[in-house]
Amino acid sequence: MDKITSLRMENITKTFPGMKALDNVTIEVKEGEIFALVGENGAGKTTLMNVLMGLYQSDGGCIILNGQKVCFTSPNDSFGCGIGMVHQRYMLVPNLTVKENIALGLKKAWKKVKLDMDFVVSKIEEIGEKYDLVVDPDAYIWQLSVGEQQKVELVKTLCLGAKFLILDEPTSALTPQEIDELIQLLKTMNKKLPMIFISHKLKEVKELSHKLAILRHGKIVFCGDTNDYSSSDIAALMTGREVKMPENNEEKEFGDYALELKNVNVKSIRGFLALNDLNLKVRSGEIMGLAGVSGNGQLELAQIINGLRKIDGGEILFLNEHIENTSPIDIIQKGMGYIPEDRNTEGIVPSFSIKENLILKDIENEQFSNHTIINNKAINDNAEKLREQFDIRCVNTSLSAGALSGGNIQKVILAREIARKPKFLVAVYPTRGLDMGAAQFIHSKLLEMRKNGVGILLISEELDEIMNLSDNIAVIFKGHIQKVLPAKTATRREIGMLMAGVNND
C-alpha cells in the first residue's frame, strides 16, 4: 500500500467489564486531513485508538482502509498497513542513543550479527528531509528535553513506515514553545500524511485540525468541520454547558509566611546545580505561580519541599519549622499536600484499588484504621464521597487505579490531596491531561483553598493557568528565582523574557 487515502472506523463498539467504553462509533479520515478527537476524560478516545492499533479487539464494527475491510488483531497488523501511533508516554530507552532506539524497532536494520547503523542513520536523514524533522542520531535520550523526545518518537514511528499518524495527547507534556513548534511541524507533515490528533486544548484543535469529532460517554455526539465552529462552541458541545475558567480576582489579606526557602542549593545527578541559591517565600492564603521552561529546577523544587530529595545547602521553613532533610511522613503530618508530576507511578500505586489509593497518606489516620486494624467501611464511604465530589469516572472504586483513563487518575490524586485539607499545597501541573470541565473544577477548588487560607505553590507550564490563578508569579531559570512579579501587572512578554533568562534589573 502506497498511500492511505481514506480510513474509516464503522460502528465500533467495545465493552469493558461493567461499562460500554465505545458505543457504535463511526469516524472517517481522508487524505490530507487532520482529524481531531476531543471529549471528556474517560470518554473513550484512547480506547478507540487502541482498537485502531489492534491493541484491543472491538466487540462489533469494522475498519475500512482505502475502501477495503481490514482486520487488525495485533499492533503488527496495523503497523503493516502503515498506521503508526505516538503514545502519550514515550517508549524510549534513556540509556541508548536516538539511532539505537530507532534501530530497536527497525527490522530491516537487523543484520545477522550486528545492526546496520548506517542504514538507520540514512533512514533518519531521509525522514528528516521529507518531513523537515531533524534530530541528532547520536544524542542519548536522557540528554534530550521532553519536546525533543517527542520528535524522536515521531521520527521512530515514521522510520517504521507509518503513512498515517495517531497522536494521543502529544502536547500535554510540552512547554508552550515546544507546543508551537510541534504544531508547525505537524502542519507541514500533514501535507504528506493524514493524522488523528487527540487533545484537551481547543486552541490546538482549532489551529491544527480540519475535521473534529466529539466523544461523550463512548458515543459520537458531534462531528463536523472545525472551521465552522468557535472554541467556545466546541467547549459547549463537549461538556453540554458553557465553560468559563475561574479567575483569581478577589482581594484579600495574606497570612504569615507558610513556606520559606533560603539560599537552597541542590546538585543534580549529573553534577551541575539543579537549584542554585534559590530564595522563595509563600504566605498562607497566597497562590504563588512558578513559571519557567521545564527542566529549570521545578521538579527538584517540588521534591525538596516534600522531603523526597536531599538539599546540599540552605534552609527550608514550613510554618516556621525547619523541614530540610526530614522525612516525607514528617512533612505530610505537618500539613503539606503534594500533587506530583508523574501521576502514573508516583501519584498512585497502580495495582492498588481506587479506594486504597484515596487513603495512601491517611492509612494511619484513626478514621481509617483503628489500632492498625483497617476500617473497610470508612474507606469505602470515603471513596464513594470523593468519587461523587470529584466526578471520578469508574465502574466501582474497587477496581485498580491503573486501569483508569489518564484524566481520571489525575482526579484521584487531586481528590486525595485536596480532601486531606492540607495547610499548604504544592501543585505540579495539576490540570495536565484534564478535560476543560475538570480543569475548571480544579481551578475553582484551588481558589477555594486559597480563600480558606491555604498557601499554594502552583507549578505549571501553561501561562494561562498561572496568570489566571496566581497572586504572585515567580519565574525560575536555571534553578534560580529570577524575579517575583505581582500577577495583576505582569505581562506575558515580561514573563517570557524572564523565563528565557533575560533579567533587566
Binding site: 465493552t15 467489564p17 491493541l55 484491543y56 479487539q57 466487540d59 488483531t73 516534600n306 523526597l308 522525612s327 516525607p328 511522613i329 512533612i331 505530610i332 503530618q333 503534594y338 506530583p340 508523574d342 507511578t345 508516583e346 501519584g347 498512585i348 500505586v349 497502580p350 495495582s351 492498588f352 486504597e356 495512601l360 497518606k361 492509612i363 494511619e364 481509617f368 484504621s369 492498625t372 486494624i373 483497617i374
Partner: protein, 361 residues
C-alpha cells in the same frame, strides 16, 4: 465478556499448565527409561493410600507452608527471598541451642522459648539481606543465595564441632548431630503410630496471622504499597526501607520457626539434611499458592505429596527421588509462563472474540 467465559478460560489455562508439566516431565522420564504412567501414578496416589503415608505428606507440608507464608510477606514488599534454606538452618541451630540450654523450664514456656529462639535466628539471617537491600540496594538474589552457603557451612561446623552429641564422640561413630532434646519439649503426636504432630495447628494460626497482617492492618497496607510501587509509597510517606527490612525479618523468622517445629515435632535433635530443599520448595509453594495463605495451604499439601511420592517412586519404580526436583523446576517454569498468559488481557480478549465470532456464525 461473560463471567463463565472468564472462569472457563482461567481453568483451562491452569489445566493446560498441568498437562504441560506432565508432558515435559514424561520426556525426562522416558530418557531415563522409566515407566511414565506408573511413575506419575505412584507419585500422586501411592502416598494417599494409607494412614502413615498420608500423615507423612502432612508432616512435609508443615514446614513448607510456614516457609511459604514468610516468603509471601517478603514478596509482597518487593523482595524475592531465596534464602529461606539458610534462614531455616540458622533457626534450627538457635532453637536447638536454646533447647539444650534451658532444660529446667516448665514445658509450655520451654517450647515457646525454643520456637522464639528459632524465629530470632532465622530473623537475623533475614535481616542481613533486608538491611543490605534497604540501605545499599544490594540485590537480594545475590545476598540471600550467598547467605545460604554461609549458613550451610555454619550448620555443618556446629554439628561436627561445638554442638556435636558428646556420646557420638565417646562411642566413636562421630555422626554429625546434636544431643537429643529432652522428651518434655517434644510436640505431642496427634495419631498413634504416626509422626503427625501438633505443629499442624501452628500452620493455621500463622496463616490467619499473615492474612490479617497483610490485608487487614495498616502495617500490611503500607508493606504491600512499598512492594507494589516504591516511588508512590515514598511519595505517600511510607518508609520503604523500613518495610523492606522488616518483611525480610518476618520472612526469615518464619523459616526459623519452620526449623524449630521440625526438630521439636519430627527429629528431636539437629541432624544434617533437615533443611533438604525446603527453602526452595517453599518459594515454589508460595508462588503456586498465589502468594496468599488460602492458596498456600493446599499448595503445600500438593508439594508434600510430591516429596513423599518421590521417595516412594525410588522404592517402587526405581526412579531416583532427585527426579522430583526436576519436576519442581519444570513446575516453576510452567507457573511463570502460565501467570504471564493469565495476566495477558489482550490475549483473553482475542480468544473471547474468536469463540464469540464462531457462536455468532
Amino acid at each position: 465478556m461473560t463471567r463463565q467465559f472468564k472462569i472457563l478460560y482461567k481453568t483451562s489455562i491452569i489445566l493446560i499448565a498441568v498437562i504441560a508439566t506432565l508432558l515435559i516431565g514424561s520426556v525426562i522420564l522416558v530418557t531415563i527409561d522409566a515407566d511414565v504412567f506408573r511413575t506419575y501414578l505412584v507419585i500422586l496416589t501411592e502416598p494417599l493410600k494409607n494412614k502413615i503415608q498420608l500423615t507423612e505428606v502432612i508432616i512435609r507440608s508443615i514446614p513448607l507452608s510456614v516457609i511459604a507464608l514468610g516468603i509471601t510477606v517478603a514478596y509482597r514488599s518487593g523482595i524475592i527471598n531465596i534464602g529461606a534454606e539458610g534462614q531455616m538452618a540458622i533457626g534450627i541451630l538457635t532453637s536447638t541451642a536454646a533447647a539444650l540450654a534451658f532444660y529446667n523450664v516448665p514445658r509450655p514456656l520451654n517450647i515457646i522459648i525454643i520456637v522464639v529462639c528459632g524465629a530470632i535466628g532465622g530473623g537475623i539471617w533475614g535481616f542481613i539481606p533486608g538491611i543490605l537491600k534497604a540501605k545499599l540496594k544490594v540485590s537480594e538474589l545475590l545476598s540471600t543465595v550467598m547467605l545460604n552457603y554461609i549458613a550451610a557451612q555454619f550448620y555443618t561446623f556446629f554439628l561436627r564441632g561445638p554442638m556435636i552429641d558428646p556420646a557420638e564422640l565417646t562411642l566413636g561413630s562421630g555422626t554429625p548431630q546434636s544431643m537429643r532434646l529432652e522428651k518434655t519439649v517434644w510436640l505431642d503426636r496427634l495419631i498413634r503410630g504416626t509422626r503427625l504432630h501438633t505443629g499442624i495447628f501452628l500452620v493455621f494460626v500463622l496463616a490467619i496471622f499473615i492474612y490479617i497482617l497483610l490485608w487487614k492492618t495498616s502495617f500490611g497496607y503500607k508493606l504491600r504499597a512499598a512492594g507494589a510501587s516504591e516511588k508512590a509509597a515514598k511519595y505517600g510517606g511510607i518508609k520503604v526501607a523500613f518495610f523492606v527490612t522488616v518483611s525480610m525479618v518476618i520472612s526469615g523468622a518464619f523459616a526459623g520457626i519452620a526449623g524449630s517445629v521440625e526438630i521439636l515435632g519430627v527429629h528431636h535433635r539437629a541432624i544434617e539434611g533437615i533443611t533438604s530443599g525446603y527453602g526452595f520448595s517453599g518459594l515454589v509453594v508460595a508462588l503456586f499458592g498465589g502468594l496468599h495463605p488460602a492458596g498456600i495451604i493446599p499448595a503445600s499439601f500438593l508439594f508434600g505429596l510430591l516429596l513423599v511420592g518421590a521417595d516412594m517412586t525410588q522404592r517402587i519404580v526405581g526412579v531416583p527421588a532427585n527426579m522430583v526436583q526436576v519436576l519442581e523446576g519444570i513446575i516453576i517454569l510452567v507457573i511463570v509462563a502460565a501467570q504471564q498468559v493469565l495476566n495477558d488481557k489482550y490475549l483473553m480478549d482475542k480468544i473471547w472474540k474468536k469463540f464469540h465470532a464462531e457462536e455468532a456464525k
